[in-house]
């Protein structure tokens, strides 16, 4: 891309968390630095957080059970929140949700702060609640999340299986905000990651100023449903 301007970068260690408002038509590029990262992600319209990511609406509007370039994360109010404008991964998981403290303890054993300081076992549920709380949101606002960089396959019987090796070192996905969007994310392990070791991976966040989507924008024109979601979103800004 040529028309992008670097705003700033953040480095999120494995097991870390971040939240903030991504201004309209800025892009958050997430880079899997070591391979095998997982980013649990939630999105809310910053001006009215009751208007929030809705994965059922997102998936059924685009007839998909995975997310990749062209797809748009839609809200329950018919708005386009974040567009996947670039993606070298090819498959991001919208199905498997996230683990809580009990899940992490059962899988990896106890490793608390007193023992391990900042190498303790953190979990996505608590990290989501911490970041949501900073914006006045709470457990009732914690909806179904995306897992960037991870893939879960579903077979003909409906069985779910974690797909290892989905994301290589340096793999990246770009999320462009279509309105001001509160992004809440953490880098805890995927809940179905079979690794017996707690080894969450770091992710680089790159914030870019990018051009507004034109009429031929790939995500806007990906489906007629996306065009209508863009239209409803642009009505927020007239």
């Amino acid at each position: 891309m040529t028309n992008e301007t670097l705003l700033y970068e953040e480095h999120v260690p494995g097991g870390g968390m971040w939240s903030g408002v991504l201004r309209r038509h800025t892009t958050l590029r997430l880079t899997d630095l070591e391979g095998g990262a997982n980013v649990g992600l939630l999105a809310y319209r910053a001006a009215q957080p009751l208007d929030r990511l809705n994965l059922p609406d997102t998936l059924k509007a685009q007839y998909t059970a995975k997310l990749t370039r062209g797809h748009v994360l839609m809200s329950d109010m018919g708005h386009a929140l974040l567009s996947l404008t670039a993606d070298t991964v090819g498959w991001h998981d919208p199905l498997a949700g996230h683990a809580n403290a009990a899940h992490v303890r059962a899988k990896y054993g106890e490793r608390n702060y007193q023992q391990a300081r900042n190498d303790w076992h953190r979990n996505a549920h608590d990290n989501f609640l911490i970041e949501l709380g900073k914006h006045g949101l709470g457990p009732r606002d914690l909806v179904a999340n995306v897992n960037l960089f991870s893939r879960v396959d579903v077979d003909a019987e409906g069985r779910m299986a974690f797909h290892p090796g989905n994301s290589a070192p340096g793999a990246a996905v770009d999320l462009r905000a279509e309105t001001d969007v509160l992004v809440v994310l953490n880098t805890c392990p995927h809940p179905l990651d079979p690794s017996p070791e707690y080894t969450p991976k770091p992710v680089k966040l790159t914030f870019l100023r990018t051009p507004p989507p034109d009429a031929d924008d790939f995500c806007r024109s990906f489906r007629q449903e996306n065009q209508r979601a863009f239209t409803l979103t642009e009505r927020l800004h007239v």
Binding site: L50, N54, L55, P56, D57, L59, K60, A61, Y63, T64, A65, K66, M74, D76, M77, G78, H79, W91, L95, A96, G97, H98, N100, A102, H103, G138, P139, R140, D141, L142, V143, A144, N145, D153, V154, D155, A156, E157, G158, R159, M160, A161, P191, L192, E225, R228, A229, T231, L232
Partner: protein, 216 residues
Amino acid sequence: MSTLVYTESPLDPTTAIYDHTLPSGDGWMHEVRQGQTLRIVDLEGNQAADTLFYNAHDFSDRYSAQDTIREQRGIYLTTGTRLISSSGNTLATIVADTCGRHDTLGGACAAESNQVRYALEKRWMHNCRDTFMLQIQRWGRGATKCDIAHNINFFMNVPVTPEGGLSFEDGVSAGGRYVEVRAEMNIVCLISNCPQLNNPCNAYNPTPVRLLIWDK
């Protein structure tokens, strides 16, 4: 089509303590106490019953589609499925099912999602989210829009393909088929009997469901 397993219930409708027929386009919000069994009957076939469950004592502890499918490693709901809450509790268990498969990925229809999916003019059609909203408002006790999370679509068939596609298939249900859940704690059940006319989830003909409750 994958394997469907049918499990009949021994419960006799004449011994139910509650028996109500819910027309399409209407809503129902009702407490089901621990040990009680709720049966939802698809009276005429191919009807979607959009359903949410809450811990009766704490609405922030509510049905979670992602936790439910992940913990059973499968996307379809049927007999034996534990309906898991956002806090990891088992709210209810599916104990009988003569339909064989139920969806929890497709969510509920809404005025706004109908606009996105079909046409901007579809805003004016009745939809499940409006039914949920009205029931929540009437229920009061602090319940708001943020309590309308991702629901179950009883009797609806939404397969995922190995390539990661999502399709809305003709229903696997038929007139008289039912599903039963046993409450594992005191729960509140919220149902929108789906009024959708834009896709085949109700075979373009929304019909009533029957709701029965038995004491343990």
